[in-house]
């Protein structure tokens, strides 16, 4: 499993091995297991942005929440600097790994000032001492996200969506983390505000060497801003590579579908996706999960495809990428 | 099979009644009576059960008659009833009852001495039935009209209880396996009325055609409605739908009398003594007789009576605790002087004399230090007692005694006075054919108990051999003279030592609407207490006549 190995020179700070999360749903007597995330290997490298794209419900948020330890993984390991995260003190862990929640309107407590929101992690993680020190640090944080220091006294509702989003980022930065998990931080905003946020995150990566996980639906923004892109489908990573490789030369049929479906004013013809109809809810749980919707589906797709390197930095989990001779004989062919 | 017997018999009674007058009632020959707001009752007429409907609403003796009726309005007066007469052996251990002849049970069977003997033996056999505490050793029928009861100790004073027991028919009750759980839904007795219908709203009775007193009763139907609260009963009384009631009616003149000046009358003499019971245990503020005397001297009982009951419960007139004027005959030259007149100066001088010093806060200080103070306890939901206490506390404040009025739940009140965990409490006495019964109730050391243990009735915990001796002296003789001396002795103890402090007289609440029936007892003709409580209610109802016109 080498899908997301680090770039040359840099050691990943946060790394997952075979991470999985299964939810059990109870309803009308029968139990159903939702494999929200399966067998995930991910490495976040300082100074890089890793984008996670994929269909709704493919487990992107679950990954982020597992990484910040809000959701307990069903199996697998998370390591921070090689240490098992599960054994680490939660506070110590979160000092290094912070998350920006998807919705800037919901993730700031409306009763507290922005200053309070920023001061709390500073104090909790021992980054500042009570008193003038905190106020100064809060000011610094606000400046880092390009907010005027007077915002410290404002309440969330007095801020625009973009400003809130910045405040949320500032809060995540308060503990001086090395990993920032940003879950769809821009989905609620209009295009010009979106851009401001992305540019800000990009700067943080460049100046602070942050490792950023950027969860999004917006492939164009991933291409614009991320160093690496990971494509998820039904809880599994189907493709990963540099952002440009993945968007410009998608290797997995699902990625191709995704990219062809992305709105693009410069497109020549409108894409027909009607065939790719069924939703992820009914995706098979073994083998290639995309096979029911895949125009190239083969019998062999009933087995889990390996991650195949397209280029050294680009892998896709698809049997199409495996030389025909090397594909295992599928059960039916054998029979 | 016992119950079917009962039903059969009443069916007969019912038929009989249907012949005389319709049970639908409402006519002028129906008397509606209410003793108290009781809430819905169950169809239980077992006379030995203190909660039976007949007992609660005063109709028990309409069915189960006593041997003798006592006039509590005039001490010593009694009326022969099922027993024409009676004699005591001189040692008080044998009671011979001479019964009426020609009495029949309402099912037509003849009444005889064996029914009387059976009744008393029943009480012996089933202690649970013996709720009047009669201690007969044996009961036999000597002949059809003579019954003999024997006791192991002089039982003169128990005659009041013995003669009040309702006599039940042997032919029915002997067939009942466990009479203590027998609800007796269709009672068969010798009395003037038969039960005709019963439901949650009350019951109706109709005249017993076989009744042994010739020409009686004159009223053909009795109706007993049920009320849950005094105000709704009072409303009905004011509206004229109730003829005879035993309610405490506040502002009785406006609420009742004025509504029909011609017919609405009341006569509510005292029959017992409401007292302040001091806790006499060592260390309690009222253990000091001087304090009790001061308290008694400082109280203006007339004001209390006015405030709490508009004077309806008359102020106690004698420190002896005697109910005046009913027990006037027991007043002697020695005890006449103990009339109760408010005298704050006297109260203060008593306290001064006893070594209490007036403190700067206007209250006396106890020798041990601290205000001379006690709390006066009564149930919060006894409004009249609460007023009594509040007024008393104001009056005692003027005398330098600090009284905290403490209104508590009935449950706590009962438990406190029983177990002696109180300073002082307002409490009602008991009735009786002579002052002995109250004195015995208050002062007999046999009914006392050490602190923390439940006392039976001597709640102030008065333990005085002299008093006990006097009580025994009274109980062991039938000689009115000796008895009177004993009473006088106790009365003097009462008046000087104040083991309980008389406050008011417990009035026998009685309201009468004479529109339909007349002949109720009055102050001028106090042949009975006016209230519709059994068994005297039976005597009274038989005296009533349809109003002229």
């Amino acid at each position: 499993m080498t899908s997301t190995t680090s770039g040359p020179g840099a050691e990943p700070v946060l790394r997952t091995t075979s991470l999985a999360k299964h939810y059990t749903l109870r309803g009308r007597g029968r139990r159903r297991t939702v494999r929200a995330v399966d067998d995930l290997d991910l490495a976040l490298v300082p100074g890089t942005v890793t984008a996670v794209v994929g269909e709704s419900g493919s487990g992107k948020s679950t990954v982020a929440k597992m990484l910040v330890r809000l959701v307990r993984p069903s199996s697998g390991r998370i390591t921070l600097d090689g240490r098992d995260a599960g054994r680490m003190n939660l506070r110590a862990y979160r000092k290094d790994v912070q998350m920006v929640f998807q919705d800037p309107f919901a993730s700031l407590n409306s009763v507290h000032t922005i200053g309070y929101h920023l001061a709390r992690p500073l104090l909790n993680f021992g980054r500042a001492r009570r008193g003038a020190d905190v106020a100064g640090k809060v000011r610094d944080l606000l400046q880092r996200v390009k907010l005027d220091p007077q915002f410290a006294d404002k309440l969330p509702h007095e801020l625009s969506g973009g400003q809130r989003q910045r405040a949320a980022i500032a809060r995540a930065l308060a503990s001086e983390p090395r990993v920032l998990l940003a879950d769809e931080p821009i989905s609620m905003l209009d295009v010009s505000i979106r851009l401001g946020i992305l540019n800000l995150l990009g700067e943080l990566r460049d100046t602070d060497g942050l490792a950023i996980l950027y969860v999004t639906h917006d492939i164009a923004s991933a291409r614009y801003f991320a160093d690496r892109t990971v494509v998820m489908y039904a809880g599994k990573v189907v493709e990963s590579g540099t952002a440009l490789e993945v968007t410009d030369q998608p290797a997995h049929p699902y990625t191709q579908l995704l990219i062809s479906a992305a709105p693009d004013p410069q497109r020549i013809e409108i894409v027909d996706v009607s065939r790719a109809s069924s939703g992820a809810a009914s995706a098979p749980t073994d083998g290639c999960r995309f096979r029911d919707r895949c125009p190239f589906a083969m019998d062999v797709c009933r087995q889990q495809p390996p991650d195949v390197a397209v280029t050294p930095s680009h892998t896709a989990a698809c049997w199409l990428r495996v030389d025909e001779s090397q594909r295992p004989a599928s059960g039916r062919e054998a029979a | 099979s016992s119950s079917s017997k009962g039903e059969n018999t009443t069916a007969t009674g019912g038929n009989g009644s249907a012949a005389t007058s319709g049970s639908s009632g409402g006519g002028s020959s129906t008397l509606t009576m209410v003793v108290q707001p009781s809430g819905p009752l169950t169809r239980n007429f077992n006379p030995f059960n203190p909660n039976n409907a007949g007992m609660i609403q005063g109709t028990q003796a309409f069915v189960y008659e006593p041997l003798v009726q006592f006039n509590l309005a005039k001490t010593g007066q009694e009326y022969p009833w099922l027993a024409k007469s009676y004699d005591w052996s001189s040692d008080g251990k044998t009671l011979t009852l001479h019964l009426q002849s020609g009495v029949t049970w309402s099912d037509g069977k003849p009444f005889s001495a064996s029914d009387v003997a059976f009744t008393f033996n029943l009480l012996r056999k089933f202690p649970a039935l013996n709720t009047s505490g009669i201690k007969a050793v044996s009961a036999t029928a000597k002949d059809p009209t003579t019954a003999v009861l024997t006791f192991d100790h002089a039982s003169f004073v128990d005659f009041y209880y013995i003669a009040s027991v309702g006599i039940v028919p042997e032919h029915i009750w002997s067939g009942i396996a466990d009479p203590s759980t027998f609800a007796d839904p269709n009672p068969v007795g010798t009395g003037p009325y038969l039960l005709t219908s019963f439901n949650q709203q009350g019951w109706e009775m109709t005249k017993n055609p076989h009744y042994w007193q010739a020409g009686k009763p004159t009223i053909s139907n009795i109706r007993v409605p049920i009320f849950n609260s005094a105000p709704s009963a009072t409303l009905a009384l004011g509206q004229g739908t109730v003829d005879w009631a035993g309610l405490f009616v506040n502002n009785i003149d406006t609420v009742f009398a004025a509504k029909d000046k011609q017919h609405n009358t009341y006569w509510q003499p005292g029959y017992s003594t409401v007292t302040i019971i001091p806790n006499l245990e060592q260390g309690k503020p009222l253990a000091d007789v001087a304090v009790r005397q001061a308290v008694s001297a400082a109280l203006d009982r007339t004001q209390i009576s006015k405030a709490a009951t508009q004077g309806q419960a008359p102020p106690a007139a004698s420190a002896t605790g005697l109910v005046l004027p009913a027990q006037e005959t027991y007043l002697t030259d020695a005890t006449k002087q103990y009339a109760l007149t408010p005298d704050v100066a006297k109260a203060k001088s008593i306290l001064d004399g006893a070594g209490y010093k007036m403190g700067g806060d206007g209250y006396y200080q106890t020798p041990a230090g601290g205000d001379l103070a006690f709390s006066l306890e009564q149930p919060s939901n006894y409004a009249d007692f609460m007023t009594d206490a509040q007024v008393a506390s104001q009056q005692l404040k003027a005398a330098g005694i600090k009284v905290t009025v403490s209104g508590v739940s009935v449950q706590k009140y009962t438990s406190d006075i029983t177990n002696g965990t109180f300073d002082a409490a307002i409490h009602v006495g008991v009735s009786g054919t002579s002052p002995y019964y109250q004195y015995n109730y208050w002062l007999n050391s046999a009914f006392s108990a050490p602190a923390g243990k439940p006392a039976i009735s001597n709640f102030s915990r008065w333990e005085d051999p002299a008093t006990d001796k006097l009580l025994t002296q009274y109980a062991s003789t039938n000689d009115p003279k000796v008895q009177a001396t004993a009473i006088d002795g106790i009365a003097q103890v009462m008046a000087t030592k104040l083991p309980v402090i008389p406050l008011l007289y417990g009035a026998a609440w009685a309201q009468m609407n004479t529109k339909k029936f007349t002949g109720y007892p009055t102050a001028d003709n106090p042949y009975m207490l006016g209230w519709p409580v059994s068994p005297s209610s039976e005597y009274t109802v038989l005296q009533l006549k349809p109003a002229a016109g």
């Binding site: - | 709203q201 706590k412 009962t414 438990s415 029983t418 409580v533």
Partner: protein
């Protein structure tokens, strides 16, 4: 299913806890029933000090088994369906006493609660629907009525419509002269007697239903699906019934189930004031007389009524709101 089982389990534990409390609570009250009874009898005149003993025997209170043993005996009795004998109404059994009182309460308080619920819900739906119209003036008025102490209103109503105007009987559940039966005479008589108490109950409880429904209506009216229903050009009535009120009534239904407990226990003051024969008054008597068996019996009824109502409300909720079927 699992949800229901779990609910059932918790209901059982709650029942156990409540029944145990119901057993011990009365016994924690100061005093004992015989003392109270003697005290009560004494007020009426003759009572011999010797009577205490007899009464102890009569009511089986002379036996001094420990509380814990009694507790287990009580459970034994319960499982046999035996509630024991009432002390106040001795020798009637507790079930008899309850059986005599409960129907009245169920009918009077039950029917008025249902009327109040229906009236309040309909009014609330209307007011919520017609926000800002004159209908809203009902709100402060009904609020005032609901803040009036029950018994106070009852007494005023009695003195006005009963004593002054004579339109309605002053007290009672029916005329004493008519025996309870299903005859039209009796039923109409009983209804006539029920008017004033019912009006009192309805007036003082309707406001909460109006308010609850109105608030839910206003909230639901703001839901997108109501807007969609309106956008769909559905008739006013259809939008109101199938979309707005249908959804808004759900919380009220849960509340209604809970108010069932009030039917049994909350009727006391009404029953006192109107001298209405019912279970509330029986409970009051039981408490006043420390009639443990009767108290326990009535508590048991209340406990079961509340728990059952809760369970029914849950089930009703599940039936009426498909969303709850999924998770919860």
């Amino acid at each position: 299913m699992k949800f229901l089982l779990r609910r059932l389990g918790f209901t059982l534990i709650t029942a156990w806890a409540a029944i145990s409390i119901n057993f011990f609570l009365p016994r924690l009250m100061p005093g004992d029933p015989v003392q109270l009874m003697v005290a009560r009898l004494q007020q009426q005149g003759a009572v011999s000090p010797n009577a205490m003993q007899a009464m102890q025997v009569a009511f089986g209170l002379d036996d001094h088994t420990s509380l814990i043993v009694q507790y287990f005996q009580y459970w034994g009795q319960l499982f046999r369906g035996d509630l024991g004998r009432s002390i106040t109404f001795y020798p009637s059994s507790v079930s008899e006493v309850i059986g005599q009182a409960l129907p009245w309460t169920l009918v009077l308080v039950g029917v008025s609660t249902v009327i109040s619920f229906l009236l309040g819900t309909v009014l609330g739906a209307f007011i919520g629907w017609r926000r800002g119209s004159w209908a809203e003036t009902i709100l402060p008025l009904s609020t005032f009525l609901s803040s009036v102490p029950y018994f106070w209103m009852g007494l005023i109503v009695i003195s006005l419509f009963g004593a002054k105007l004579g339109w309605f009987p002053l007290s009672g559940g029916f005329d004493q002269g008519i025996d309870p039966s299903w005859s039209s005479d009796f039923v109409s008589n009983a209804l006539y007697h029920a008017v004033l108490p019912a009006i009192t109950i309805v007036l003082s409880s309707v406001a909460s239903w109006i308010l609850g429904m109105r608030n839910m209506m206003v909230t639901v009216m703001d839901e997108d699906y109501v807007l969609v229903a309106q956008a769909k050009g559905l008739s006013r009535l259809r939008v109101l019934s199938a979309y707005a009120a249908r959804n808004a009534v759900l919380p009220s239904i849960a509340g209604f189930a809970l108010s069932i407990s009030f039917v049994v226990s909350g009727s006391l003051l009404v029953e006192i004031v109107f001298s209405y024969p019912g279970i509330g008054y029986s409970l009051y008597q039981a408490v006043n007389n420390e009639d443990f068996p009767l108290m326990q019996g009535i508590f048991l009824i209340i406990t079961f009524a509340v728990l059952l109502a809760n369970l029914v409300a849950d089930v009703a909720y599940v039936l009426l709101d498909p969303r709850t079927r999924q998770d919860a």
